[in-house]
């Protein structure tokens, strides 16, 4: 393979990497700037503070379910760590 071709390939790899980095940075900025427009004022948290509005409002039930599905299916985790902890799978 001659040097020009190698350089061309390297440039392609570089530009694809740069493109990916730029895309990630752009998306990240967009997400964060979009997030900054979302949300509530501190005195508007009454509904969100209700126990049933917590994302994991029943950790015991979630733990038991994780145990059941870990032993029956090939997937685990997502909400939290998938980890080990059981010889059931």
């Amino acid at each position: 393979m001659n040097r020009k071709v190698k350089q061309c390939i390297n440039l392609k790899v570089l530009s694809s990497k740069s493109l990916r980095t730029a895309t990630v940075l752009l998306l990240g900025s967009l997400v964060l700037s979009a997030c900054s427009d979302l949300g509530v004022k501190p005195w508007e948290r009454d509904v969100l503070a209700r126990p049933e509005m917590q994302l994991n409002h029943d950790p015991i039930e979630a733990g038991l379910d994780d145990h059941i599905y870990f032993s029956k299916e090939a997937s685990s985790g997502g909400r939290g760590f998938g980890g080990g902890g059981c010889g059931c799978n």
């Binding site: 948290r45 503070a49 994991n56 599905y69 939290g80 080990g84």
Partner: protein
Amino acid sequence: MQLIKRKSSKSTASKLTNRSFKKIAPALAAASCSLLGAASNTALARGEAGTWDFEAASLFYTETDDRVSAVEPVFSATRNFEDGEVLNLKAAYDVLTGASPNGATPSATPQTFTTPSGNSTYITDAGDAPIDDTFKDTRVALSASWLAPINRDWEYNAAFYGSKEYDYLSIGTSGGIKRYLNNKNTALNVGLSFSFDTIEPEGDIPSGLAEMPHIGAGDDFSSTRIDTSDDKTIIDALFGVTQVINRNTIMQFNYSVSMSDGYLNDPFKILSVIDDTAGANFGGNLQDANGNNIYLYEARPDSRIKHSLYWQTKYALANGDVIDGSYRFMLDDWGINSHTFDFRYRWQLGSSYLEPHLRYYMQSEADFYQRYITETEYNAGSPTLTEATSDYRLGDLDGMTVGLKYGHKLDNDHEFNMRVEYYLQSNSGDNGIGLLKDQNLYPDTKAIIFQVGYSF
């Protein structure tokens, strides 16, 4: 009236923010603190600072067809400290009995299997799904988690976990850090977890793809064993964003990666070797010189990397009801990918509530999953394969859960709740050749889940 209320709230905004956020913070942190068993274990700060909250629950799980049955009582204690720290201690105890599929295919003739210990045999009748009914285990799991603010914008959590079964030990630790942004409407989580599991099965560790010995025929059991125990390490990393959308909506996105290394086989699972030579036994069990069916122990890769994307949204309706929806996409380097949809609707009825639950799960099979091994692949005892499993949990499957939960809050802020759910799992795949086509290779798994709980 509303305006007056708002005004008065605004004047105590800072106090309210701190108090509300102390309540919401542990739940926001749950994503970065949930080892299995200690799963999502950062309990909610239900009570006031300086007090303990307790929660007791018991799960009853029963599969139909005399398969697995489990009882699992759990007790959780949570201490909420003045400065926002939260300590959670949890203990669980499992008792499992029943029978588990051993991986072999049903057959037109009775089949004799050697138990995992090598001390005895069991027989499966013609046409029946081969299940090992010597399955029995108890498990104790203990966990502790700690969550604390570092300052106004940062928070950390740490957890320790340990569980012991008759033949299995698991210990683990996890930690995470969280950064609040945008007036605490956004939270970024990073978490790391490390687990070390050791298995010491009854009858030791069989060699992958070795033939199951027929002890009644005088086969040497020990020659198929490679060690008395083995282990695996699991490292998980989780990156999450939690975002308050508006006064009624909160959303969470997580990406997690899980890397397992070591012994990932199930030492109790075997595969049938099926005759694929044209003739009267085409599709029947291949037999050895003594007339015994040939079965091989499964062999999986010794590493696995899983990636998961998780999204959850909670939305409060004006009437007080809450909608909770989530979706998870998982893919791994074993060729499995899965989709999990979960939906709950909390229907508030004064101090009680009803919560219908619907969960749908679908999974594709692992690259090395196959329902049986052919005589050609068996290759007269020198298999052409290096990896194979017929464990239905690594096959093509769909799972559906339908459930209903009822809860009632008592005057003293205690809560009683119970739920009943029905789980149906259906497998599918290659339907076999010749004689095997007459057998049901993919029986459904049906289970009833009942749970009762009390928090005080």
